[in-house]
């Protein structure tokens, strides 16, 4: 722990870390404001750029997390087994993020569907109603 470097070297590394984290944070705020159109450039029409900004923000945040864990919390100098026993379980969160965000997206679609159903006049003759197409992969019981 720190024994791999001289005292002066490790102090210099700490302040390098401060500058690194500060710069990454400023870059994050900068591209976030760019994406929201605060820097005088209207990017709202460029979907790919907005997606790129979101991915960039996530990657930069993960980099900050990596840096804090490995340098400030000295994970770099711990035994590999310790690092893996702490870090590998967090991979479960990858599943959680995918599963729950997909679920959230599904709720949104259902809400839109319910809203649409509510706007259909139940008393109108069926020919004028838009109707809802049952998705092909849905099980439909044979009522005949």
């Amino acid at each position: 722990m720190g024994g791999h470097k001289t005292y002066e070297e490790s102090i210099r590394d700490v302040y390098k870390g401060l500058v690194l984290l500060a710069v990454v944070t400023l870059v994050e705020v900068g591209i976030s404001l760019l994406g929201k159109g605060h820097l005088g450039i209207d990017v709202s029409g460029y979907g790919w750029l907005l997606a790129l900004i979101a991915i960039g923000l996530i990657v930069l945040s993960l980099y900050k997390a990596y840096f804090i864990i490995y340098e400030f919390m000295h994970m770099r100098y711990e035994v590999k087994g310790l690092a893996m026993s702490v870090l590998l379980p967090t991979l479960l969160l990858v599943w959680a993020v995918i599963a729950f965000f997909q679920e959230g997206d599904s709720w949104k679609k259902r809400r839109e569907d319910v809203k649409k159903r509510e706007t259909v006049d139940p008393n109108a003759p069926s020919s004028t109603q838009e109707g809802f197409v049952i998705p092909e992969d849905t099980f439909v019981p044979d009522l005949g």
């Binding site: 722990m1 720190g2 005292y7 490790s10 102090i11 700490v14 302040y15 870390g17 401060l18 984290l21 500060a22 944070t25 400023l26 994050e28 705020v29 976030s32 404001l33 929201k36 605060h38 709202s44 979101a54 923000l57 996530i58 945040s61 900050k64 997390a65 804090i68 864990i69 400030f72 919390m73 711990e78 035994v79 087994g81 310790l82 026993s85 702490v86 379980p89 967090t90 969160l93 959680a96 993020v97 729950f100 965000f101 679920e103 959230g104 997206d105 599904s106 709720w107 949104k108 809400r111 839109e112």
Partner: protein, 323 residues
């Protein structure tokens, strides 16, 4: 004889792992358990943040962070994300001073440990002060609560009604944000005086001293609900309901609860971190760790916790403010 002694040493060295005296992963018990506590805490925070993401994904609109978080102390408005960036820097800097305290601990430098820990405590207290201001502003000035979210988003472009009840000059685009203001009550005013009051200071007045003479009343160009919240009316200009007169509504209800619970849970971590930092700071200053066999390891352990608080903020900052 000498050979026998060496053999004996080797035996104890490689002896039964259950005999004790061996540190798994070459880390002390305290440090190892701190790591596993932090792992479990990370899952708690992840659960909260994933809930936030799921509800955000499930909503048609979501409050735009650069609109919600655009005020700062000393009357600064329209400064998106600036205040919260300052809060982030406070935590980053206090993380760095914590690393310095741990380094001085390795050198058994009592004065250095105390000095750098003191700066760390100041950084943490500064962060808490900023958060207190942020909450006070959201609750007191902007009337956001756990169950009420006054930050709404337009889904279609349109034009607000003027004071005469006809479409006025103020237009908005789809995706534009609005804040629902609260009106004060003064029953002695006439309807004309209410309208005149609105017309005189304009709709964009941040101070928001709108005054009405009755709650739960329709004023033509706006509706004031039973709690005094002003829902401005507008004419939709595009989409299926083009031409219809609609009224502003509160934003997704979940936002307030998620914001206060997640930033509050993080703030509580900062608060308890400051408390433990102070305890260890006082111990260090009174020379407790000079006597100890493992020296300043307590400083290392609280350091791990403090960096974790900074680490969580990286993700709170990402999901609440940046995205």
């Amino acid at each position: 004889m000498a050979e026998h002694v060496i053999e004996h040493d080797v035996q104890t060295d490689q002896g039964n792992a259950w005999d004790g005296g061996k540190e798994p992963f070459k880390a002390s018990y305290g440090k190892l358990m701190m790591w596993y506590f932090l792992l479990s805490d990370a899952f708690t925070f992840a659960g909260f943040l994933i809930a936030y993401g799921t509800l955000r994904f499930s909503s048609q609109t979501w409050p735009v962070p650069d609109f919600v978080f655009s005020t700062a102390p000393f009357g600064i408005h329209d400064a998106p994300l600036i205040f919260v960036t300052i809060m982030s820097f406070l935590l980053i800097i206090s993380s760095v001073t914590m690393v310095r305290a741990v380094q001085e601990g390795h050198r058994e430098n009592k004065r250095g440990v105390v000095f750098w820990m003191l700066l760390t405590v100041l950084g943490g207290a500064g962060f808490l002060g900023c958060q207190a201001w942020e909450w006070t502003n959201l609750i007191g000035t902007e009337h956001m609560t756990v169950t009420r979210n006054p930050f709404g988003t337009h889904t279609e472009s349109g034009v607000y009604l003027g004071y005469d009840g006809k479409p006025g000059e103020e237009t908005f685009e789809a995706g534009g944000s609005y804040l629902i203001h609260k009106a004060d009550l003064d029953a002695s005013l006439s309807d004309e005086e209410v309208v005149a009051g609105f017309a005189s200071h304009g709709e964009d007045d941040h101070a928001g001293h709108a005054v009405v003479n009755e709650y739960g009343k329709d004023y033509g160009f706006m509706y004031v609900d039973d709690d005094g919240f002003i829902m401005r009316k507008f004419v939709v200009e595009e989409g299926e309901s083009a031409g219809a007169v609609q009224m502003e509504a509160f934003g997704p209800k979940a936002f307030g609860g998620l914001f206060f619970f997640i930033t509050g849970f993080h703030g509580f971590h900062v608060l308890s971190g400051v408390a433990f930092l102070l305890i260890i700071l006082i111990n260090a200053a009174s020379g407790v760790y000079v006597e100890r066999k493992n020296g300043y390891e307590m400083v290392e352990k609280i350091g791990l916790y403090w960096h974790f608080v900074d680490l969580v903020w990286v993700f709170v900052f990402l999901v609440f403010y940046l995205l």
